[in-house]
Point group: C2
Chain length 336, copies 2
Amino acid sequence: MTRVALDLLGGDRAPEQVVDGALLSADEQGGVDVGPPELAERLLVERGAPGRLEVVAASQVVAMQEDPSRGVRAKRDATIRVACRLVRDGAADAVVSVGSTGAALAAAVSTLGRLRAMSRPALGLVVPAQAGPLVLLDAGATVEATPELLGQFALVGAAFASVRLGLPRPRVGLLTNGPQPGKGDQLRKDAFAVASALPVDVIGNVEGCDVPVGGRADVVVTDGFTGNVLVKGLEGAAAMLSDVRREALLASPERRAAATPLLPALSAATARLQPDVLGGGMLLGVNGVVVVGHGGSSPRAVAARIGVAVRAARERLVSRLAAALDELAGPRPVAP
Amino acid sequence: MTRVALDLLGGDRAPEQVVDGALLSADEQGGVDVGPPELAERLLVERGAPGRLEVVAASQVVAMQEDPSRGVRAKRDATIRVACRLVRDGAADAVVSVGSTGAALAAAVSTLGRLRAMSRPALGLVVPAQAGPLVLLDAGATVEATPELLGQFALVGAAFASVRLGLPRPRVGLLTNGPQPGKGDQLRKDAFAVASALPVDVIGNVEGCDVPVGGRADVVVTDGFTGNVLVKGLEGAAAMLSDVRREALLASPERRAAATPLLPALSAATARLQPDVLGGGMLLGVNGVVVVGHGGSSPRAVAARIGVAVRAARERLVSRLAAALDELAGPRPVAP
């Protein structure tokens, strides 16, 4: 059974909703959940499930407003650090946290280390775009990017798409403000030159619309600032659409009856861009499966993140990613 | 009658669709359309409307893939330059172009000049967010921003919101990757300090979702790169939704009948984020009404842009914007 180390204290609605999420997925994973055991047990008793989760003790948390690197360094007993240690020591197969993404990044890099060729990890999302799934990265891990870093994201994004989406030669697009060559700020222009020299199939510039619509690129590369703004914008659009569906259902019995044949289509469109789908991803470039999610994650969203982590661990995603990076980046240099 | 100088050669589908757009709105404006007169007349004859538009001669165009500043400088007879000259000389009240935004910016700045306190103009959009309209800027005019420039955008955005949305004290938010203070890249952190020292009501950080959902800020300030990516992402989400609606209508007569009661709600949600609504805006910070739109604008979208320009000219938007900037920025320094 796959063992997921779940950070019980990370998230706006922790620990209650995180515990609820753990209970939702308790059957499909042998959780080694991380947090204060007495607190966890009290919540489990309240939920009529005493002893249902195995809790590894950790008492500190790196808060959202805290400086992530400093917080992780200072708090040896932080849940996210303990969770990463469990993976490093082979006591767990994956980490899931809906707490600070920055803290997860800092703890993962310092405890698990990085994959070859990756100086900073990126948050990779599989977006179920209209024309088919695509990988978007960085969705919010690293807000200050350099051309070289965007080149690394192109490399690891292509490796992730080949493993996860089964594409032999994923098409890589650079997110810019126009489809024409030469569009973008200086960072994009320089990144285009860097990425074009790499052994990946760079198809050129893509635009914001290409992420929800899909079809032009299998991997969309951007910095964590822009990626985060775009993903949250799409989530906001989905929230508007959900309201339309809700209104259609609740307005009157007649409207509800009229809406019924349309619900599958409306639900499918909404589902594509919902926070439960988009609001999480995997840290690509760290030597371990680390799945993060929105601070505001519902129990269902927490359970979905756990599902992503279980699948990645079972697929041996990280070692396949490392192998794909080796293949893309060429043979390792021999020590002199 | 308000006279709009329409750039007949700018846009992916120019001049045909631009001429069609001009014809759609010919009744509400005394157009002084700018382009090659013989070409325009031939298109008008084909459309059964000979002599319907008054065309001012201009034969060159700055293409989308051209360097905008260089193109505008080199082409004295470019439609966008001639259109701006007409406004400068009092022969037209506003410019509309669906050609290169960069070319419109360069021509407007060099021909019409800038408003006080604005070193670079921003593209301002009124987004019909779910909770009410808000101003988003920069939606794509200036891709390289500085903290000082984002401060100017906060100032002119607040002035625009007070004039256009009738708000005495618009709430200004800075678009970042998280709501917590201190979030964002170095540019945002520095811009927050700059904007907070200005006489505008800075409420703090807002996120991508706050643009379609609305309610938190009346003015959302960002650089032209991020703004363009976000707006195009929202348009892509709207395109997905339109497809759902179309599918609902076309699937079968039964489905069409079932969908009918829902169409107003679906249309309203789609309409909010459609390219015809979002895909255009006004250059804020130039001394004249200059409205730009997507290169791919349909005739209906061109007509909508003309409507925006007519309204702005009739409202004397630019002089009111200048007055609001004066009020916000304090009395002009007296020459020594």
